[in-house]
Amino acid sequence: MTEALQRLRRLLVGFETGMAGLSLLLLVLLTLGQIIARNLFDTGLPAADSLTRYLVLYITFFGAALAADGDRHIKIDVVCAWLASPWRSRLFRPLQALGALICLLLFQAALRFWRDEWQYAADHERWQVLLNLVIPVGFGLLCLHFLLGLLLGERRTEPRL
C-alpha cells in the first residue's frame, strides 16, 4: 500500500516538475520571441502576450504542488519554534488533513468556475478557457499532495534552497 502511494507520489512530482519546468522555459522563449518580432519585424506574435500570463499561472500552481509535496509551503509557525519535536510530528497529519479539506473545497469551486467559463465563452476564447483548466487541476493536485502527506506521514524533507 505504502509502496503504491509512494509510486503515485513520484509520478505526480515527475509530472509537476515537467509541467512547471516546461512552462518556465516556454515563458522565457516566448518573451524573447516577442522581442525579436517587435524589434526586427515590427509585429507581435499573436496571442503570445496572453499565453505568457497563463504560463505564470502554470508555474504558480505546479510550483505550489511541488512545494506541498516537500512540505515547503510558507508558514507563520510561531508556536512551532517553542514546541518539542515529537509534538511537531504529531501535528503533521492533522494539518495535512485540514490542508486537503480546504484544497478540496477550493477545487470544487474552481471546477464550477471552469465549467461556467466554458459554457459562457465565445468560440474565439475557447483556447484560453482550456488553459484555465490549470486552476481546478492545480487545486486538485494540492489536495492530492496533502492527502498523500496524511497517509504517508512526515517524510524527511529535502534540504531547502
Binding site: T17, A20, G21, S23, L24, L25, L27, V28, T31, L32, Q34, I35, D49, S50, T52, R53, Y54, V56, L57, I59, T60, F61, F62, G63, A64, A65, L66, A67, A68, G70, R72, H73, I74, K75, I76, D77, V78, V79, C80, A81, R88, L91, L95, L98, G99, I102, C103, L105, L106, Q108, A109, A110, R112, F113, D116, L131, N132, I135, R160, L161
Partner: protein, 421 residues
C-alpha cells in the same frame, strides 16, 4: 462565531498550517458568512491570469537561482571587496542602494528579495556581518525603493487620488533618499561595530576581480540601460536576464551543466515562485471580500467621529495605516483606503501629494510586519528562516523606518519642496 473562527485560524497558522491554506479557509468561511458563492474566490484568483505585472517574477527568480548555482556571489564578493572593501559598511551600502534601485522598477512585488537577496545574503555573511543584521537588511530593503520612480505603488496612488504622477515622483525623492541615508549610516555603524574586516585597496586585485566579475556586473547595467533607455519592457528585461545568465553560466563559466542541472534549476525556481504566488492568489480572494463588506470604510467611520486636530489625525492615520499595512497587500490597500482618507485629510488641510507619501511610507513599513508582510514571507522562503526570526532581525530597521515615518509625516516640506511659494 466569527471571532472564534478567526482565533482558530490564527492558532492553526501559528501551529504551522501553510499560509495559503489559512487564507483560503478564511475566504471560504467569509463567503459562507456573507452568503456568497465560494466561486467568487476563484473569480479573483482568475484575475492573476490576466495580470502582466507578475510575468517578470518567475524569470528574474530563475536568473537569481541560476546565478547563485553558477557561483556569481563569489565573483561579485571579490569585485565588491576590491571596490568598497576599504570602506566601513561598504558592502551593506552597496546592498541597500541596489535593493532600493531594483525595487523602484520591479514594483515592490517581492522581486527584489528573490533576485538580489539570494545573491547578497551569502556575500554579506561571508564578509562577517552578523546573520541577524544581514537578514534584517535584506528583508526590509525589499520595499526600500517604493518612493522612487517608476514605482507601481506611487502610480497607483496617483490614479486613485487623481494626483499628478510627476508631482508624486518629485515628492518621493527627498523622503526616499532620506530613508536610504539613514539606513546607510546605520549600516556603516554596524560595519564598524561588527568590525567587518576591511581590506586595503589594490589596483591589480581590482583588475583581476573585474575580469572575473565583469560578465555579472554587466547584468544590472544592461537591465538599467535596457529599461530606462526604453529598449525593452520590464518583462523583456527579465527574459533577457534569464537567457543571459543561463548562457553565461553554462557556456562561458561552464559552472552549470545544462543537461544535468537545467531541470533542477527550473524546479527550484517554480517551487519558490509557486509558494509565493499561491499566497497572493489566496489573499486576493480574501481582500475582495473585505472590500465587499466595506470593512475598511467602517474602520474609518470610527476615526471620523473621534478626531478633532490635524496632529491627532496624522497620528491616528499613522497607526491606522500601519495596521492596514500589517494586514493587507499594498496595492489593494491603496485602492481601497485612499478614496476614504482623501476627503478626511482635506478636512484637516493635508496636501494630497503629502498624504500619498505618508501612505506609502506607512505601507512600506507594513511590508515587513506580520501577519501579512510580503517581505517576511519571501525572505523566509528565500533564506529558509522562520518568519518570527526575520521579523526580529528586521526590528532595528523597522525602528529606523518608524523614526523616518514621523519625520516625513510631520514635515510636509520634505514632500512638497518643489512647490513654489
Amino acid at each position: 462565531m466569527t471571532p472564534a473562527v478567526i482565533t482558530a485560524l490564527v492558532l492553526l497558522a501559528a501551529l504551522g498550517l501553510p499560509l495559503f491554506v489559512v487564507l483560503g479557509a478564511g475566504g471560504l468561511y467569509a463567503t459562507h458568512r456573507m452568503e456568497l458563492d465560494p466561486v467568487v474566490l476563484i473569480v479573483e484568483l482568475n484575475r492573476l491570469a490576466s495580470s502582466p505585472n507578475l510575468t517578470a517574477i518567475p524569470m528574474f527568480t530563475f536568473a537569481g537561482v541560476a546565478l547563485a548555482a553558477g557561483g556569481a556571489p563569489q565573483r561579485l564578493i571579490r569585485l565588491f571587496n576590491a571596490l568598497f572593501g576599504w570602506l566601513p559598511g561598504g558592502l551593506a551600502a552597496v546592498a541597500l542602494t541596489a535593493c532600493a534601485f531594483f525595487t523602484a522598477f520591479s514594483g515592490a512585488s517581492g522581486v527584489t528579495i528573490l533576485a538580489l537577496g539570494g545573491l547578497l545574503y551569502p556575500m554579506l555573511s561571508c564578509q562577517g556581518y552578523r546573520e541577524r543584521f544581514c537578514l534584517g537588511l535584506l528583508t526590509s530593503s525589499g520595499s526600500l525603493g517604493l518612493l522612487f520612480p517608476p514605482s507601481l505603488a506611487i502610480l497607483l496612488y496617483g490614479i486613485v487620488a487623481g494626483v499628478n504622477i510627476d508631482e508624486l515622483f518629485l515628492a518621493g525623492i527627498v523622503p526616499g533618499t532620506l530613508l536610504l541615508v539613514m539606513l546607510l549610516l546605520y549600516s556603516i555603524f554596524m560595519g564598524c561595530k561588527c568590525s567587518v574586516p576591511r581590506q586595503g585597496f589594490s589596483i591589480p586585485e581590482l583588475l583581476r576581480a573585474v575580469r572575473a566579475g565583469v560578465w555579472d556586473i554587466l547584468l544590472p547595467v544592461g537591465i538599467v540601460v535596457g529599461i530606462f533607455g526604453g529598449y525593452v519592457t520590464v518583462n523583456e528585461a527579465a527574459a533577457c536576464t534569464a537567457a543571459y545568465v543561463l548562457l553565461l553560466e553554462s557556456l562561458i563559466f561552464r559552472n552549470i551543466n545544462l543537461t544535468r542541472q537545467l531541470l533542477p534549476l527550473l524546479r527550484d525556481t517554480s517551487l519558490l515562485v509557486g509558494s509565493i504566488l499561491i499566497i497572493l492568489a489566496a489573499a486576493m480572494g480574501l481582500t475582495n471580500l473585505l472590500i465587499d463588506a466595506q470593512v475598511p470604510m467602517q474602520l474609518l467611520a470610527w476615526v471620523k467621529t473621534h478626531v478633532d486636530s490635524p496632529l491627532e489625525f496624522l497620528l491616528l492615520l499613522n497607526l491606522f495605516l500601519l495596521v492596514v499595512g500589517a494586514m493587507m497587500d499594498i496595492f489593494s490597500a491603496i485602492v481601497v483606503i485612499t478614496p476614504l482618507i482623501l476627503p478626511l485629510a482635506a478636512q484637516f488641510g493635508i496636501h494630497p501629494v503629502h498624504l500619498g507619501i505618508i501612505m506609502l511610507a506607512n505601507l512600506e513599513i507594513g511590508y515587513s510586519t506580520p501577519p501579512v508582510g510580503i517581505n517576511l514571507f519571501i525572505a523566509s522562503q528565500r533564506f529558509g528562516k522562520p518568519i518570527l526570526l526575520l521579523f526580529r532581525a528586521a526590528l532595528p530597521f523597522l525602528a529606523i523606518m518608524l523614526v523616518w515615518l514621523l519625520i516625513v509625516t510631520y514635515n510636509p516640506g520634505l514632500s512638497l519642496w518643489w512647490q513654489k511659494g
